[in-house]
Each structure stands twice: as C-alpha cells, then as structure tokens.
Amino acid sequence: MNINTTKIISLLFFIFSVFYLYTAYQIQVFAFDENAPFNARTFPIYLGYAGLFFSGLKLILPDPDTIKVEHKTLEYKKTGILILIAIIYGATILKVGYFLTTSLFLFASYYFLGERRWILMFFLSFPFVAAFMFLLHGVLDIYLRDPFLKLIGVMG
C-alpha cells in the first residue's frame, strides 16, 4: 500500500470516526427511549459507521491520482501570523470592543501581508470600520457591544 498524505488524512478520518462512534454510543437517552426504533444516538451511530466505511475504502483502495504538495513553496509564516492575529482578535473583541479590535486587526493584517502605504492602511481600517459600524449599529439597528467607545463616551 502506497503511503501518501491523502492516505494519512484518510487514516486520521478513520480514527476520528472511531472516536465519533464511541461518543455516539455514550449519548445518554431516556430510559423509555432505550429500545425505541430511533433515538438520539441512532443517526450518529450510522454516521460513525459510514465514516469508517468510506475512510476505510480510501485507505485500502489504490490511489492513482496522488496529490503532491510542495511544502517548501507554501507560505506557512504569513498564514500562521494571519491565523494568530485572527485568534487575538477573537479573544479581545468582547472585552475591548468591536471598533478598536477590528480596526487593529485590519491594520495588523495589512501590515503583515506586506502593505506599507500607511495612509491607505489607516483609511481602510479605522474610518472604514467606523462607517461599517454605523451601517450595522446606526442604520440596521444591530447591537454591537463596545466597551472602549462607551468608555470614551462615543456610544451610550
């Protein structure tokens, strides 16, 4: 059997299906539902077996269309930084507020992607977010929590 990344992904999916199936069997159902033709765990159990079946087939059968990815050419650094910025954005948005975190997220993302036109970067972050926020909060009446703007007295 030829081992390639697709096979490894299939193996991971197989293991995931085993875990899913195990968890499906652990779902607590009501006592009167235990022997019913269908209860809360029936469908997940079928799904678990389906996952085992398809990933098992993919593992066993030959793979003529092997996908080869040149990892050396991939931009892991920038992608990783972008994901990290998004995680920090997610972690701070509720505490700091929508306006400041979103503006900083955009500004930092432009910077790490190689942009250096500072004025454009500024306009496409702070005023852009302010305008978008006005559309959501002011026009569409969608509530946006913002402790920072509340602190400086912009938002009530």
Partner: protein, 500 residues
C-alpha cells in the same frame, strides 16, 4: 383563478406596493452582499416595519427583500467567494473563477439575467400550477424525503470533482457529523457538546460556510503564495468589467435556463428542500447534460455552471412560497421567518388561504414578477460599481474577507467561541483543500443533516424500526434507483478511466 390574478394585479400594482418591492430589492441586495448577513437576517429586520402595513404590503416587502438578498448573495459569491446565502454557494463554483479570470462583470450579468429568467419562469409556473402543485408536494412522505436527500448528497459527491468520489463521500459524512452537534430536535438531548454550552444549539450554518469557503479561501491564497502576476491580474480584471454577454454565451444560457428553472421550481415546492438543494442539483444536472468539452470547464468558470444554480435558486425562491402559502409548511429557512410574520398578522396559511385572503396569495405571486423586473433594472446598471469591490488589491482584499467573515459570525452570536471555532474549521478546511478534498459536499450535508435525521426518524418509527420503508413506495424506489444509477455510472467511468 382569473379573478384571483386580477385581484393580485390590482393589489401589487398600487404605487405603494411597487415602491415597497423596490425598497425591498434594494435593501435586500445590500444586505445579501455582506457575507454572513443573508435574507433571513434582512427579513427578520424587516418584520417590525411590516407590522405597520397591511398583510399584503408587508409580505410584498419581505418578498422583495428575499429576492434582493439572494441576488446580493450571488454578488458576494462571485466577487469574494464568500456566499452569504446558502442558496448561492453553488454560484461561487464557477462565478468566482470567472471573476478571477477578469470576467467579473460578465459573471454578474449572467447571474442577473439567469436570476431574472429563473424568477420570471417560476412566477409563471407558480401562477398556473400553484393549486395542483400543493397536491404533488403533499404526496411526498418521509421515506421519499430521506431518499431525495441521499440522492442529493450522492449526486454532489459524484459530480463535485473527477475521481474524488470517496474523498467527497468522506466530506459528506463529515458535514453530517458536524450537523449532528447540539440538541437532538425531538428529545432535546445534547450530543457531541462535551459539556460546552456554546455547542448546545449546534454549529451555525453561516459559520461553517464562512470557514470552509471565505476564510479558508483567503488562507489558501496566502498559503499557496500566488505568483507575482496574480496581483496584476486581480487589478486588471476590475478594469475589464464588461457586462456584455455574447451570442455564444447567450446560446448556452438559453439551453440551461429552462431546465434549471423547472428543477429549481419543483425542488422549491418541496417543503424543507429550498434554494440550496435546487442550486446544487441544477449544477449537478447541468454538468451531466453538457458536452464533455464544456464539462471540463465546470469549476473553472463555466457559463452553464454559473447560469444553472442562479436560475434554480431564484426559481426555488418562488417555489418555496407554494408550501408556505398553501400548506403552511415553509420551503426554506427564509420562508419560515416569513411564516412567522404571517402568523403575526393573524393569518394562518393553509389550503383555505385562497378563499379567505385571495388578495394576499395572488398579490404576492404577481409582485414576484414585478420584483424580478425591478431587480434587473436596479442591479444591471449597478454591476460596474458593484464590481469595483475587486479593485481592492489582494493585501487589502484578504483581510477584508476575514473581517466580513468574522463580523458575520460575531453579529450573529456575540461570543468568542464561534470565532475560534470558525478559525479552527477554516484551518482544517485549508489543509483539506490542499489535498483536493471538495468542500461543497460538506456544506450540502451540513444543511441537510437535521432534515435527513428527522425524515429517517419518522420513517423508522412508522415502520417500527424496519428498513422496509425504502422499498415500500414506488416514489422512494425510483429516487433510490436514480441514486444507485449515479453511483454505478461513476464506478463505470472511473474503471474506464483507469483502464485507458
């Protein structure tokens, strides 16, 4: 019926109602364009306003918002590969590649004309077939729905990409697994939440779409380190925003539109099916019907591949009004919101709606056609301006896609967990994309997961746990036979390819 049509025309053609359709279309287009804010959000926002009007005007306004948002969703699918509406996911398969090839204006024009034609044809079908169509949809039972969903998932897996059937089926299972997270709809028992309260309501559809399409697309662009000319191409395509469709392209659309409108309308009529299944099925069917030469272009910017889902999703929008108005069963999530609004007006939709409130039933049907005309007049001249979104260089476009995705999720739930979950799914999806695991089957499976379980539950309970329900009814057998044929045909094609 003639009397009803005249009542409908009289109501729909009043200045106030035409104005409402225009406002609805315009508002809907803007909201629909923002990824994450689909027609459900737009209509939900409109409900308090509609209570100030009479029921017919209120429903006409919401119908306008619905069509506008679906078209707006197509726009963001084509320009940003960020479908804000489930029904326009299939639009991005060929719309986005066209935009990347510098044909953003053309793709938007094809979407606009296809939407218009699909909506117009389905409004005509609706006009003449509504009374009898409700009987057809009534004849569908749970086993038929279950079989239909199996067919839809198998078809999308078989047609998603060449030689990737098993990968696509793995994605189908993964989509269904993701859909099973949260409370069981009948017993309220929580499943796969691992005591995390944020997962009790399940994973939001928009979150999964944003993660697997918009966000993972943005990450893939960065990860794959696009060649230096890509940025130049990106800029030049915005300068080539031609919306002209040539004779050859029109010829392709003439063939695609009628058949896609029929499938879209029929799927839309089925309660619970709606625009998403219609667009996926129309896409799959079209790929199956075109010549081999055109088939190769699917997923790379095919005219047929763009026109088919666009026609079907608009046709399905009209079709989904049939079960809602005649049976009181919403055909889609959006019509479910509208059903809630109707109940708020004190109107109980059902077979008696014809008799008790004919002005509502027929004026909505007539306003659908008027809405289509307005949408075309409104959107076609605006296409060059809409296409300007792509003038943003990639260094700005990618953070903006991430921003729209995260904002879309944030305004829906206001919690950090959903953002982390979205990032997690996006990272996994990016990795899977590298190895050609297709995402569309995952999305369709995720949408159908709940419905599929519900129909399997009903079927198994009615047959006392026996699987005989699969061959008890002729309709179920026919649908399942079609599914088996698709699988056999796919195996035959794969074996033939391997031999050659």
């Amino acid at each position: 019926m003639i009397e009803g049509i005249l009542i409908g025309l009289t109501t729909a053609l009043t200045f106030k109602n035409i104005f409402m359709v225009m406002i609805g279309c315009f508002f809907g287009t803007i909201i629909g364009m923002l990824p994450g804010l689909g027609p459900m959000t737009a209509i939900a926002l409109m409900i308090p306003i509609t209570y100030g009007f009479d029921p017919a005007t209120g429903l006409i306004l919401m119908a306008g918002v619905y069509y506008g948002a679906v078209f707006g969703g197509s726009t963001s699918s084509i320009l940003l590969n960020a479908p804000g509406v489930p029904g326009t996911v299939a639009t991005s398969f060929d719309g986005y590649p066209m935009a990347q090839q510098g044909k953003a204006g053309k793709a938007l024009a094809i979407a606009a004309w296809s939407s218009f034609a699909g909506g117009t044809l389905s409004a005509i079908y609706l006009l003449f077939l509504a009374p009898s169509l409700s009987k057809v949809s009534l004849s569908f039972r749970s086993p038929d729905y279950f079989a239909l969903m199996i067919l839809g998932l198998t078809a999308i897996a078989a047609f998603s990409s060449k030689g990737q059937f098993l990968k696509a089926m793995m994605m189908v299972v993964l989509g269904l697994m993701l859909a099973s997270v949260g409370q069981d709809s009948l017993s309220d028992i929580t499943r796969f939440t691992f005591n995390n309260m944020n997962l009790t309501d399940g994973i939001s559809f928009i979150l999964v779409v944003m993660a697997t399409f918009a966000m993972s697309e943005a990450l893939t662009i960065i990860l794959k380190r696009n060649d230096p000319t890509a940025a130049a191409k990106q800029v030049s395509l915005t300068e080539l925003g031609s919306i002209r469709i040539n004779k050859e392209e029109r010829g392709k659309m003439y063939k695609t539109i009628p058949r896609s409108s029929v499938i879209g309308f029929l799927i839309g009529v089925l309660p619970g099916a709606g625009a998403t299944i219609a667009s996926f099925l129309a896409y799959g069917m079209e790929r199956n019907l075109v010549k081999d030469e055109e088939k190769e272009k699917f997923g790379k910017g095919s005219i047929n591949g763009l026109s088919a889902p666009e026609t079907a999703n608009n046709a399905a929008c009209s079709g989904s009004f049939v079960p809602m108005l005649t049976l009181g069963i919403p055909g889609s999530g959006t019509t479910a919101v509208m059903l809630g609004a109707l109940l708020g007006f004190g109107i109980q939709p059902g077979p008696r709606l014809y008799m008790t409130n004919p002005e509502i039933f027929w004026s909505v049907i007539m306003s659908m056609y008027i809405g289509m005309v307005i949408l075309l007049i409104l959107n076609l001249p605006l296409i060059p301006y809409i296409a300007r979104i792509l003038a943003v260089p990639k260094n700005y476009l990618i953070p903006l896609i991430l921003f729209f995705s995260i904002t879309g999720i944030y305004v829906m739930s206001f919690n950090n967990f959903d953002i982390y979950l979205m990032i997690g799914i996006a990272v996994v999806a990016t990795f899977l994309r590298l190895y050609d695991f297709p995402m569309p089957p995952l999305i369709l499976a995720f949408v159908l997961g709940g419905l599929m379980e519900e129909n399997l539950r009903r079927s198994l309970l009615l047959s006392n746990g026996s699987w005989e329900f699969l061959w008890d009814r002729t309709l179920t057998v026919c649908i399942l036979a079609t599914t088996i044929l698709i699988v056999l045909w796919h195996i035959y094609k794969t074996l033939k390819k391997n031999k050659s």
